[in-house]
């Protein structure tokens, strides 16, 4: 264990630490395993007891019910459209702006940059009430654009790309400039290909954030057919008190959580660096 790189033998402290680690891991995994188990149990059994999830009877009825009745597919589609749209637009405008701030010069740049950096301190909650009124005036609620747009204003992505461009050697562009290449040509042919790692980081970060966003969709998407997955599931949770549907609720949670967990397992390494790298900046 790393606490003592010098120590080679597994001593008592090591074993205690390992036990603590395993214990914590169980706390992290157990609720998920349990919920997956419940999703395969008949509701009338769950009415009486939620123990013994590994013992029969099992049923696929909860999942069949989802396929037949639940709006979860529509919500998932909405979440996808919003998350993809937000990711794509964030990447485009952040990369352009990050490059503009890091590598070009123009009148007013300093003041614009200071403004944008100050914007990093503004939390979503500080502006959500007036923003909601503005979108209501413009009839943008319950539209994809209305769900996607607000997040584009937050400067995090610009700041991340700015940092990245600062680290790219200037000589590459200067050489291209000597060849009389136009500014745009340099940006698209020379600079953009270099930014793929940063794009991946920002892209994953933005996608996850958009997929899990709660407050804005809650107040903007008020029509059930415009719910994102997060909001749709929140709406069904109000039925939680009538416990006859626990199995169905759990199946829905499993169904909704699985795609993102599978994505996570596939892209684990990238997701981890993206989130850690993003927040560390």
């Amino acid at each position: 264990m790393v606490l003592g790189r010098g120590v080679k033998k597994l001593d008592l402290v090591d074993m205690l630490l390992l036990a603590a680690l395993v214990g914590l891991a169980i706390v992290w995994v157990a609720p998920i395993v349990w919920v997956i188990g419940l999703a395969f149990k008949p509701n009338d059994v769950l009415m009486r007891t939620t123990g013994g999830i590994f013992a029969p009877p099992f049923t696929g009825k909860n999942f069949r019910d989802i396929l037949a009745t639940s709006a979860v597919f529509g919500w998932m589609l909405n979440s996808f459209i919003v998350a993809i749209g937000q990711t794509f637009l964030t990447l485009a405008i952040s990369t352009l702006a990050g490059y503009g701030f890091a590598r070009t010069d123009f009148p007013g740049k300093r003041i614009a940059f200071i403004l944008v950096i100050a914007g990093l301190a503004v939390p979503e909650q500080a502006i959500i009430v007036p923003l909601h009124t503005m979108f209501a005036e413009a009839h943008l609620h319950n539209t994809y654009f209305g769900l996607i747009a607000p997040r584009l204003a937050f400067p995090f992505g610009v700041f991340l790309m700015y940092q990245y461009f600062k680290g790219v050697p200037r000589e590459i562009e200067e050489a291209a400039m000597l060849d009389n290449a136009s500014r745009l040509k340099i940006f698209f042919r020379v600079v953009l290909p270099l930014t793929v790692p940063a794009q991946a980081t920002l892209g994953i970060y933005t996608f996850l954030h958009a997929w899990n966003e709660y407050f804005w969709p809650l107040v903007s998407a008020t029509k059930p057919e415009m719910y994102t997955l997060t909001i749709g599931l929140a709406a069904t949770q109000t039925n939680f008190a009538q416990t006859e549907g626990i199995g169905f609720l759990m199946a829905q949670a499993v169904f909704a959580g699985l795609p993102i967990l599978i994505l996570y397992l596939f892209f684990q390494r990238h997701i981890v660096t993206a989130v850690a790298g993003g927040a560390g900046k």
């Binding site: 891991a25 939620t50 702006a97 701030f101 914007g119 301190a121 503004v122 909650q125 809650l218 599931l233």
Partner: protein, 307 residues
């Protein structure tokens, strides 16, 4: 036109040392799309929100004109609001040390390339990718009084599990447990990234000196990642000040308002009762509190840096 003769004026015209090429207004086009979004969707609503906080603006009763500081004065006399401020600060106080402590603990244990460590890292980070609604669904079921997972386990020992959702004193700690379970991955990863920056030679020297692992931790590792500890604390304070979804979905602010955070107050005032001026004023107070807390922490971090 030969290339070298072009290079010279280019360098002279530049003011920003890192910039490449001429200083020209055309370059502003690079930032134009973002600045449009920034101004329309962030600067304007921020200003509008500040203005709104000084207005009597109730969506149901209509616009009643400017009222000066009245919204703020009313907030300071509103027991629900003051309770939400207290709840939020209490939540930050109990959750942030848990994030920093547990995040650091996990990072220290998992800071190597072994398969075992990578396996455990995936487990502790995995829950972060779930959305708040799934997490709360899962945990409401864990906390469920009669048939929850917690009660099932306690029942095996003939005990009764504490009811986190309906006991006033336990509501916020219960939400804090859920929150730590949900997003411990981020602080853990930030600490791991910092630990990997520490040069291996330092540890080799300590091993030669036969320093105990506790000494290595206290006199080498912790000082080396001091900045990250402050960074994680600041990030977590900012994040946990924004507590909303978990409280809204697990306890709905209850029991008896014991777990209603500021953001939920803003949500209810602005989007349930439609008192826009009042909600906007509460937003400004949250903003100032968050800025103040973050600055205080950075200041504390700097003091330690100097001393």
């Amino acid at each position: 036109m030969s290339a070298p003769s072009q290079a010279r004026p280019v360098r002279v015209a530049r003011r920003d040392a890192d910039a490449v090429g001429r200083r020209t207004a055309w370059n502003a086009l690079f930032i134009a799309p973002y600045m449009l979004a920034f101004l329309v969707l962030l600067v304007v609503p921020l200003g509008l929100g500040m203005w709104l906080s000084f207005q009597d603006y109730d969506m149901l009763a209509g616009y009643g004109g400017p009222v000066g500081w009245e919204n703020y004065e009313r907030l300071l006399g509103d027991r629900i609001f003051l309770g939400s401020v207290r709840n939020t600060i209490w939540f930050v106080i109990i959750s942030v040390p848990a994030f920093v402590g547990l995040g650091l603990f996990l990072a220290l244990l998992l800071n190597d390339d072994s398969r075992k460590s990578s396996f455990f890292r995936s487990i502790f980070f995995g829950s972060s990718v779930l959305s708040v609604t799934i997490v709360t669904l899962v945990w409401r079921l864990v906390y469920m009084p009669d048939r929850g997972l917690l009660q099932n386990i306690a029942g095996m020992f003939g005990l009764t599990a504490p009811n986190f959702m309906t006991t006033e004193a336990l509501a916020l700690p219960g939400i804090a447990i859920v929150t730590v379970w949900w997003i411990i991955g981020l602080p853990m990863m930030l600490f791991l990234a910092a630990l990997q920056q520490i040069p291996k030679e330092v540890y080799e020297a300590a091993a030669l000196d036969n320093a105990s692992r506790w000494r290595v931790l206290v006199s080498i590792t912790l000082p080396a990642i001091r900045r990250t500890i402050v960074l994680v604390a600041v990030i977590e304070v900012i994040l946990q000040f924004q507590l909303f979804g978990q409280a809204n979905l697990i306890t709905n602010g209850g029991p008896n308002n014991a777990s209603r955070p500021i953001v939920m107050f803003i949500y209810e005032a602005g989007f349930r009762d439609w008192m826009l001026g009042y909600a906007a004023a509460a937003s400004q107070i949250l903003f100032v509190l968050m800025l103040g807390a973050a600055m205080l922490q950075m200041w504390i971090g700097r003091q330690k840096d100097g001393g």
